[in-house]
Symmetry: C2
Subunit: 128 residues, 2 copies
DNA sequence: TGCGTATATTCAAATATATGCATATACTAA
DNA sequence: TTAGTATATGCATATATTTGAATATACGCA
Protein backbone atom coordinates (compact mmCIF):
# COMPACT_ATOMS: atom_id res chain seq x y z
CA UNK A 1 0.00 0.00 0.00
CA UNK A 2 1.56 3.26 -1.17
CA UNK A 3 -0.27 5.35 1.39
CA UNK A 4 1.21 3.30 4.20
CA UNK A 5 4.66 3.66 2.73
CA UNK A 6 4.32 7.41 2.42
CA UNK A 7 2.96 7.94 5.90
CA UNK A 8 5.46 5.57 7.43
CA UNK A 9 8.31 7.46 5.83
CA UNK A 10 6.90 10.69 7.20
CA UNK A 11 6.35 9.26 10.66
CA UNK A 12 9.76 10.30 11.95
CA UNK A 13 10.66 13.65 13.43
CA UNK A 14 14.04 13.90 11.77
CA UNK A 15 12.59 13.15 8.40
CA UNK A 16 9.89 15.72 8.96
CA UNK A 17 12.53 18.27 9.85
CA UNK A 18 14.41 17.40 6.69
CA UNK A 19 11.29 17.74 4.61
CA UNK A 20 10.59 21.12 6.14
CA UNK A 21 13.99 22.38 5.07
CA UNK A 22 13.92 20.90 1.60
CA UNK A 23 10.46 22.27 0.99
CA UNK A 24 12.03 25.70 1.22
CA UNK A 25 14.48 24.98 -1.50
CA UNK A 26 17.04 22.52 -2.73
CA UNK A 27 19.70 21.60 -0.23
CA UNK A 28 22.89 19.62 -0.15
CA UNK A 29 23.40 16.75 2.29
CA UNK A 30 26.13 18.67 4.11
CA UNK A 31 23.85 21.65 4.53
CA UNK A 32 21.07 19.57 6.03
CA UNK A 33 23.65 17.94 8.21
CA UNK A 34 24.86 21.22 9.55
CA UNK A 35 21.46 22.78 10.16
CA UNK A 36 19.93 19.78 11.86
CA UNK A 37 23.04 18.75 13.71
CA UNK A 38 22.66 15.13 12.70
CA UNK A 39 25.39 12.75 11.64
CA UNK A 40 26.20 12.48 7.96
CA UNK A 41 25.38 8.83 7.85
CA UNK A 42 22.03 9.42 9.47
CA UNK A 43 21.09 12.27 7.18
CA UNK A 44 22.03 10.22 4.17
CA UNK A 45 19.84 7.38 5.28
CA UNK A 46 16.86 9.59 6.08
CA UNK A 47 17.18 11.24 2.69
CA UNK A 48 17.20 7.85 1.08
CA UNK A 49 14.09 6.82 2.94
CA UNK A 50 12.26 9.92 1.76
CA UNK A 51 13.50 9.41 -1.77
CA UNK A 52 12.37 5.79 -1.89
CA UNK A 53 8.97 6.94 -0.66
CA UNK A 54 8.85 9.32 -3.58
CA UNK A 55 9.00 12.57 -1.67
CA UNK A 56 12.47 13.68 -2.70
CA UNK A 57 14.72 13.51 -5.70
CA UNK A 58 18.39 14.26 -6.02
CA UNK A 59 20.99 15.45 -8.44
CA UNK A 60 24.73 15.22 -8.17
CA UNK A 61 27.22 17.99 -8.73
CA UNK A 62 30.80 16.73 -8.33
CA UNK A 63 30.89 15.06 -4.94
CA UNK A 64 27.89 17.01 -3.71
CA UNK A 65 24.38 15.64 -3.76
CA UNK A 66 21.47 18.04 -3.72
CA UNK A 67 18.00 17.02 -2.69
CA UNK A 68 14.74 18.69 -3.42
CA UNK A 69 11.04 17.94 -3.34
CA UNK A 70 9.87 15.62 -6.07
CA UNK A 71 7.45 17.47 -8.31
CA UNK A 72 5.47 14.29 -8.83
CA UNK A 73 4.99 14.03 -5.10
CA UNK A 74 3.67 17.57 -4.99
CA UNK A 75 1.21 16.95 -7.79
CA UNK A 76 0.12 13.57 -6.49
CA UNK A 77 -0.31 14.61 -2.89
CA UNK A 78 -1.24 18.33 -2.91
CA UNK A 79 -3.37 18.11 0.19
CA UNK A 80 -0.72 16.26 2.13
CA UNK A 81 1.97 18.70 1.14
CA UNK A 82 -0.21 21.61 2.16
CA UNK A 83 -1.03 19.93 5.44
CA UNK A 84 2.63 19.37 6.15
CA UNK A 85 3.58 22.92 5.26
CA UNK A 86 0.96 24.28 7.64
CA UNK A 87 1.98 21.84 10.34
CA UNK A 88 5.66 22.74 10.10
CA UNK A 89 4.78 26.38 10.78
CA UNK A 90 3.34 25.31 14.10
CA UNK A 91 6.22 23.14 15.23
CA UNK A 92 8.97 24.79 17.24
CA UNK A 93 11.73 22.48 16.05
CA UNK A 94 10.85 23.17 12.44
CA UNK A 95 10.66 26.89 12.97
CA UNK A 96 14.04 26.89 14.66
CA UNK A 97 15.49 24.92 11.76
CA UNK A 98 13.96 27.34 9.30
CA UNK A 99 15.38 30.31 11.17
CA UNK A 100 18.75 28.65 11.20
CA UNK A 101 18.54 28.02 7.47
CA UNK A 102 17.69 31.63 6.77
CA UNK A 103 20.36 32.99 9.07
CA UNK A 104 23.04 30.88 7.51
CA UNK A 105 21.96 31.80 4.02
CA UNK A 106 21.92 35.47 4.92
CA UNK A 107 25.35 35.36 6.52
CA UNK A 108 26.83 33.19 3.81
CA UNK A 109 28.11 30.64 6.28
CA UNK A 110 26.36 27.80 4.58
CA UNK A 111 28.69 26.89 1.78
CA UNK A 112 30.61 23.74 2.22
CA UNK A 113 29.39 22.93 -1.21
CA UNK A 114 29.38 25.14 -4.28
CA UNK A 115 28.93 24.83 -7.96
CA UNK A 116 31.71 24.38 -10.44
CA UNK A 117 30.79 27.67 -12.03
CA UNK A 118 31.09 29.53 -8.81
CA UNK A 119 34.36 28.01 -7.90
CA UNK A 120 35.85 28.69 -11.30
CA UNK A 121 34.79 32.27 -11.05
CA UNK A 122 36.34 32.59 -7.68
CA UNK A 123 32.94 33.24 -6.10
CA UNK A 124 33.49 31.30 -2.99
CA UNK A 125 30.68 32.89 -1.08
CA UNK A 126 27.89 31.73 -3.33
CA UNK A 127 26.31 28.56 -4.25
CA UNK A 128 24.50 27.63 -7.45
CA UNK B 1 6.19 16.06 18.19
CA UNK B 2 2.49 15.58 17.65
CA UNK B 3 2.79 15.44 13.88
CA UNK B 4 5.18 12.52 14.13
CA UNK B 5 2.84 10.73 16.49
CA UNK B 6 -0.11 11.21 14.20
CA UNK B 7 1.68 10.12 11.05
CA UNK B 8 3.30 7.20 12.77
CA UNK B 9 -0.07 5.97 13.98
CA UNK B 10 -1.40 6.25 10.44
CA UNK B 11 1.62 4.49 8.95
CA UNK B 12 0.07 1.04 9.14
CA UNK B 13 -2.17 -0.55 6.55
CA UNK B 14 -4.52 -2.17 9.05
CA UNK B 15 -4.96 1.05 10.92
CA UNK B 16 -5.65 2.86 7.67
CA UNK B 17 -8.27 0.28 6.82
CA UNK B 18 -9.84 0.76 10.20
CA UNK B 19 -9.88 4.51 9.77
CA UNK B 20 -11.50 4.14 6.39
CA UNK B 21 -14.36 2.17 7.91
CA UNK B 22 -14.82 4.38 10.93
CA UNK B 23 -14.82 7.48 8.79
CA UNK B 24 -18.01 6.14 7.27
CA UNK B 25 -19.72 5.93 10.58
CA UNK B 26 -19.39 4.66 14.10
CA UNK B 27 -18.53 1.00 14.42
CA UNK B 28 -18.21 -1.55 17.14
CA UNK B 29 -14.98 -3.51 17.67
CA UNK B 30 -16.69 -6.75 16.70
CA UNK B 31 -17.93 -5.22 13.46
CA UNK B 32 -14.48 -4.01 12.49
CA UNK B 33 -13.16 -7.41 13.41
CA UNK B 34 -15.59 -9.11 11.12
CA UNK B 35 -15.20 -6.84 8.15
CA UNK B 36 -11.41 -6.75 8.19
CA UNK B 37 -10.95 -10.34 9.19
CA UNK B 38 -8.45 -9.46 11.88
CA UNK B 39 -8.18 -10.96 15.33
CA UNK B 40 -10.06 -9.31 18.15
CA UNK B 41 -6.90 -8.62 20.08
CA UNK B 42 -5.28 -7.04 17.09
CA UNK B 43 -8.24 -4.83 16.28
CA UNK B 44 -8.42 -3.71 19.86
CA UNK B 45 -4.81 -2.73 19.88
CA UNK B 46 -4.97 -0.86 16.61
CA UNK B 47 -8.02 1.01 17.81
CA UNK B 48 -6.18 1.96 20.92
CA UNK B 49 -3.24 3.23 18.94
CA UNK B 50 -5.50 5.42 16.85
CA UNK B 51 -7.30 6.64 19.94
CA UNK B 52 -4.08 7.55 21.72
CA UNK B 53 -3.04 9.48 18.63
CA UNK B 54 -6.26 11.42 18.89
CA UNK B 55 -7.93 10.15 15.74
CA UNK B 56 -10.67 8.09 17.35
CA UNK B 57 -12.86 8.23 20.38
CA UNK B 58 -15.04 5.57 21.89
CA UNK B 59 -18.17 5.03 23.90
CA UNK B 60 -19.30 1.97 25.68
CA UNK B 61 -22.72 0.42 25.53
CA UNK B 62 -22.96 -2.65 27.76
CA UNK B 63 -20.11 -4.85 26.76
CA UNK B 64 -19.84 -3.25 23.36
CA UNK B 65 -17.39 -0.51 22.55
CA UNK B 66 -18.13 1.77 19.63
CA UNK B 67 -15.44 3.82 17.94
CA UNK B 68 -15.83 6.84 15.78
CA UNK B 69 -13.75 9.68 14.42
CA UNK B 70 -12.76 12.25 16.99
CA UNK B 71 -14.35 15.56 16.04
CA UNK B 72 -11.33 17.39 17.37
CA UNK B 73 -9.16 15.45 15.00
CA UNK B 74 -11.36 16.45 12.09
CA UNK B 75 -11.25 20.09 13.01
CA UNK B 76 -7.53 20.12 13.80
CA UNK B 77 -6.47 18.21 10.72
CA UNK B 78 -9.00 19.00 7.98
CA UNK B 79 -6.51 18.73 5.17
CA UNK B 80 -5.16 15.43 6.42
CA UNK B 81 -8.62 13.97 6.80
CA UNK B 82 -9.54 15.06 3.31
CA UNK B 83 -6.31 13.65 1.95
CA UNK B 84 -6.99 10.34 3.63
CA UNK B 85 -10.57 10.19 2.41
CA UNK B 86 -9.47 10.77 -1.16
CA UNK B 87 -6.66 8.27 -0.81
CA UNK B 88 -8.92 5.54 0.54
CA UNK B 89 -11.09 5.84 -2.56
CA UNK B 90 -8.09 4.87 -4.63
CA UNK B 91 -6.99 1.89 -2.57
CA UNK B 92 -8.40 -1.48 -3.51
CA UNK B 93 -8.25 -2.93 0.00
CA UNK B 94 -10.19 0.03 1.38
CA UNK B 95 -12.76 -0.12 -1.36
CA UNK B 96 -13.30 -3.80 -0.78
CA UNK B 97 -13.71 -3.15 2.93
CA UNK B 98 -16.20 -0.39 2.20
CA UNK B 99 -18.20 -2.63 -0.11
CA UNK B 100 -18.22 -5.29 2.54
CA UNK B 101 -19.42 -2.82 5.13
CA UNK B 102 -22.25 -1.67 2.90
CA UNK B 103 -23.27 -5.17 1.94
CA UNK B 104 -23.42 -6.30 5.51
CA UNK B 105 -25.39 -3.28 6.56
CA UNK B 106 -27.82 -3.77 3.74
CA UNK B 107 -28.32 -7.45 4.46
CA UNK B 108 -28.51 -6.91 8.19
CA UNK B 109 -25.88 -9.51 8.86
CA UNK B 110 -23.77 -7.12 10.85
CA UNK B 111 -25.31 -7.14 14.25
CA UNK B 112 -23.42 -9.01 16.89
CA UNK B 113 -23.92 -5.93 18.94
CA UNK B 114 -27.09 -3.96 19.48
CA UNK B 115 -28.36 -1.27 21.77
CA UNK B 116 -30.32 -1.93 24.90
CA UNK B 117 -33.26 -0.11 23.42
CA UNK B 118 -33.36 -2.30 20.41
CA UNK B 119 -33.05 -5.46 22.36
CA UNK B 120 -35.76 -4.48 24.76
CA UNK B 121 -38.03 -3.68 21.89
CA UNK B 122 -37.29 -6.95 20.31
CA UNK B 123 -35.76 -5.28 17.29
CA UNK B 124 -33.02 -7.74 16.83
CA UNK B 125 -32.20 -6.74 13.29
CA UNK B 126 -31.25 -3.20 14.07
CA UNK B 127 -28.54 -1.42 15.84
CA UNK B 128 -28.63 1.99 17.48
C1' DT C 1 49.10 8.88 -8.05
C1' DG C 2 48.11 10.16 -3.43
C1' DC C 3 45.39 12.79 -0.43
C1' DG C 4 41.31 15.11 1.17
C1' DT C 5 36.32 15.68 1.05
C1' DA C 6 31.40 14.21 0.31
C1' DT C 7 28.19 10.68 0.42
C1' DA C 8 26.33 6.02 0.34
C1' DT C 9 26.61 1.50 2.28
C1' DT C 10 27.92 -2.42 5.39
C1' DC C 11 27.86 -4.45 9.86
C1' DA C 12 26.34 -4.83 14.43
C1' DA C 13 23.60 -3.51 18.18
C1' DA C 14 19.77 -1.21 20.29
C1' DT C 15 15.08 0.08 20.13
C1' DA C 16 10.37 0.18 18.34
C1' DT C 17 6.49 -2.12 16.52
C1' DA C 18 3.23 -5.86 15.36
C1' DT C 19 1.04 -10.11 16.50
C1' DG C 20 -0.49 -14.65 18.73
C1' DC C 21 -1.86 -16.83 22.90
C1' DA C 22 -3.64 -16.54 27.34
C1' DT C 23 -6.02 -14.08 30.63
C1' DA C 24 -8.24 -10.26 33.25
C1' DT C 25 -12.20 -7.26 33.40
C1' DA C 26 -16.84 -5.69 32.30
C1' DC C 27 -21.49 -6.77 31.21
C1' DT C 28 -25.80 -9.51 30.67
C1' DA C 29 -28.99 -13.29 31.26
C1' DA C 30 -30.75 -17.34 33.50
C1' DT D 1 -24.14 -17.21 41.39
C1' DT D 2 -22.74 -19.23 37.13
C1' DA D 3 -21.99 -19.11 32.33
C1' DG D 4 -21.42 -16.75 28.04
C1' DT D 5 -19.87 -12.79 25.33
C1' DA D 6 -17.14 -8.54 24.34
C1' DT D 7 -13.01 -6.13 24.90
C1' DA D 8 -8.62 -4.74 26.88
C1' DT D 9 -4.20 -6.20 28.53
C1' DG D 10 -0.05 -9.13 29.90
C1' DC D 11 3.61 -11.95 28.16
C1' DA D 12 6.52 -13.66 24.74
C1' DT D 13 8.21 -13.59 20.22
C1' DA D 14 9.12 -12.14 15.54
C1' DT D 15 9.99 -8.45 12.57
C1' DA D 16 11.00 -3.72 11.36
C1' DT D 17 13.41 0.40 12.20
C1' DT D 18 17.08 3.41 13.83
C1' DT D 19 21.72 4.62 14.73
C1' DG D 20 26.96 4.55 15.43
C1' DA D 21 31.32 3.09 13.67
C1' DA D 22 33.75 1.69 9.85
C1' DT D 23 34.36 1.57 5.16
C1' DA D 24 33.55 1.73 0.08
C1' DT D 25 32.88 4.75 -3.76
C1' DA D 26 32.99 9.08 -6.30
C1' DC D 27 35.12 13.40 -7.12
C1' DG D 28 38.64 17.15 -7.31
C1' DC D 29 43.28 18.88 -6.73
C1' DA D 30 48.34 18.99 -6.44
Amino acid sequence: MELEKTLKALGDSNRLRILNLVMQGELCVCEIEEILGLSQTNVSRHLNRLSVAGALKSRKNAQWVFYRINDDFMSEHPLLVEYLALSFEKIDACRLDTDKLKNKKASGTLMQCWSDTDRKNGKQKERC
